[in-house]
Symmetry: C2
């Protein structure tokens, strides 16, 4: 019984096992402390260090027009192909903080590099929390001094704790991947609950492996798997100023993953399953979420499918129906119609949990009791078949709950 | 003290007075009864009749790709330039009901025309309510027989009641408009609370006047004023399958409104104020809404401004902050950034209630207590100034509340 791969939409690959030992792959240490950025005194500052000098890395960032200072610093003042350290804080996004914010992020980067014993240019910075409030730099710098004595090979738990905001639980995984050339380890720490949408979610995710990769391989694997995971989820249709994903490979397993090899394919499958399950954990942890939906849209034009899938996934009427365990497919039809203006008469089918409920403009008869029961489960699947063939997309989304309103109506005041 | 023009964003034009007498302009009768479409037994079937044979009309409909049967019938089986009757029901949208739905709408149209004593082609049909459920035609036809004895010149109250769904109150107005050529009357009945968004709201609105108009004038005035009212609001970003607006002019006042005349201008101003205030009543009645927001976006490219304004108005993070009376401008910045991908560094200003809080990438100092108090009022204004000049747009939007979730999570089950 898998404890990590809990979604029916992400089966555990046969060559991937959960690692009961926990802790980071060889070559990594981490820590998480309270720097008192969060008023609660919970952990809010983490540092992750790769001690192996051959570490290669790759990163992805938000595409928002409003980039947080740490994203600017990581993109412009770090070499993301050879990162050796990541410093991350919660409680303050250091976004919309202007020149001072960038200076603060640079100072954090310099201090973290010094504590980690690596070059400043090899250090990424990430923040999450409230927007528009100056970073309490003194507290972060003091916290980093505390981190110095806390870095441990099993520090991933504390690190994952330190990057949480409204997450109900820390999101972590520790996997062993059997490759043809030998076993490697794959771990990740992730956060994200609110403000989650395309390109990709408002989230931070840090992935480590002791596989030996070329930088191009790290870049390729991360690029493809982020597109299939964090790019395919939506909690509330909102794009963050701070999204950051970093993959680091220390090479300390001695297992070399050559480009275009079976090793690369297998490692890619493992990373894909890891990121998809983490993405689904974010959706399931959508602020106040009770149920996760998956909408699959098929048809001809990928751009149209993307537009329709997002319209369904972000429809508050669809999301409240999902929350209420209500098989109200009329709202799916409304969302599809609203996304495709002036397209009437539009022919498409809707299936919920495998039951076609709407075809060619009309409701079909179906077993209402069975469908009512099916939409009460934790995961509900909707399929929208538009005319034409050859393309398909999916979006995973959370429901919309009272708790979402409570959390977000009272976030700063 | 005006009772109808309650929003600060819609001042009452000096030549427009509220009409204490109420009732419809000369040449119109209406009624509203219970046809038992709604399980509650509340009124759910209305008929509006123009007895004057010279009546001219104009109409606007939803642009959804999924058109409800009554919209198909009104567009394809009625002449919207010379409507003499409108039959409208609540409790059932007759949408996504296929060929049977169209047949039912046609049968309703025929029966309503017979009761109204007008041609079938001069009769529009409108429905609102749950999607995907067959129309209970027998009950509607029986209800129309009951309507026959109820048509009265002051039947607009009952008619307005009969088109309500989740509206907290009936939306009506009865105005006297002083034109250079003489006084005319202008009345309207409107519904809309949920599923409200662009092009235009999920709503029904029926407008009557005893002014004497050419058909082209009716078409022009309705087209322009709908664009400035129902097209500029959003409750939840959802486009309905059923939106319908009908303007009918009976000509019975004897006041002739010539094209390009001062009369036309003045009548247009009155209609504009009427529809804008009705649109704001819909927003204020957004399911569970407590506060109304107005976002004004200025800049260079109208398409970009429209995209940004909608992104802000439909952001659940902005809407929950509005609900919470929270001056969290960071969420405005986030919504703007999320709407304009890959545009960093993006320079823009944000003002809330006239106070500039963010300029050129940074927060500004401002009187927090004063702003906190300002955003607790019923109407809150946000201004986003993008680079460039020459274009401006606005969107009115509701907040996002617990009640919205309650209403929509429990709508059908």
């Amino acid at each position: 019984m898998s404890e990590f791969f809990v979604s029916r939409w992400v089966p555990r690959p046969g060559h991937v096992q959960e690692d009961d030992r926990g802790g980071l792959p060889r070559g990594f240490r981490a820590a998480g402390v309270s720097a008192h950025v969060k008023p609660s005194g919970a952990k809010d500052l983490g540092l992750l260090v790769a001690d192996a000098p051959e570490t290669v890395s790759a990163a992805r960032f938000t595409r928002s027009g409003v980039l947080a200072a740490p994203v600017i610093v990581s993109r412009e003042h770090a070499d993301v192909s050879r990162l050796r350290a990541v410093v991350a804080n919660s409680g303050n996004a250091n976004a919309a903080t202007g020149r001072q914010g960038v200076d603060d992020a640079l100072a954090t980067q310099a201090a973290a590099a010094q504590v980690a014993g690596v070059e400043q240019i090899a250090t990424a910075v990430a923040s999450t929390g409230v927007i528009g409030v100056p970073l309490p730099l003194d507290r972060l710098l003091a916290g980093l001094e505390e981190v110095r004595g806390e870095l441990r090979t099993d520090g991933d738990r504390d690190f994952a704790e330190a990057i949480r905001t409204t997450d109900k639980s820390a999101k972590r995984a520790s996997l062993v991947v059997e490759l043809p050339s030998g076993d490697v380890r794959l771990t990740a720490q992730c956060k994200g609950a609110g403000m989650i949408q395309p390109n990709f979610a408002t989230m931070l995710c840090f992935v480590q492996t002791d596989a030996q990769l070329e930088q191009e391989t790290a870049e390729l694997l991360l690029g493809v798997t982020v597109k299939r995971s964090f790019d395919r989820i939506s909690v509330d249709g909102q794009l963050s100023t701070n999204d950051t994903v970093v993959l680091m490979a220390s090479g300390t397993s001695g297992v070399k993953v050559e480009p275009l090899s079976e090793d690369e394919l297998r490692l890619g499958e493992a990373l894909d399953a890891l990121l998809r399950q983490l993405a689904l954990m974010i959706v399931a942890d959508g602020e106040g979420s009770k149920r996760t939906g998956r909408v699959v849209v098929s048809g001809e034009d990928p751009a149209v499918l993307e537009h329709v899938a997002r319209a369904v996934a972000n429809s508050p009427l669809v999301k409240t129906a999902l929350h209420g365990g209500d098989p109200n497919w009329g709202r799916i039809a409304q969302a599809v119609g609203g996304a495709l203006l002036d397209s009437s008469p539009l022919h498409f089918d809707i299936a919920i949990e495998g039951v076609t409920v709407f075809a060619d403009g009309s409701a079909l008869r179906f077993d209402e009791a069975a469908l009512n029961a099916a939409v009460q489960r934790d995961e509900v699947e909707y399929v929208v078949a538009l005319p034409g063939e050859g393309a398909e997309t999916e979006v995973f989304f959370s429901d919309l709950s009272h708790e979402y309103v409570t959390i977000n109506a009272e976030y700063t005041t």
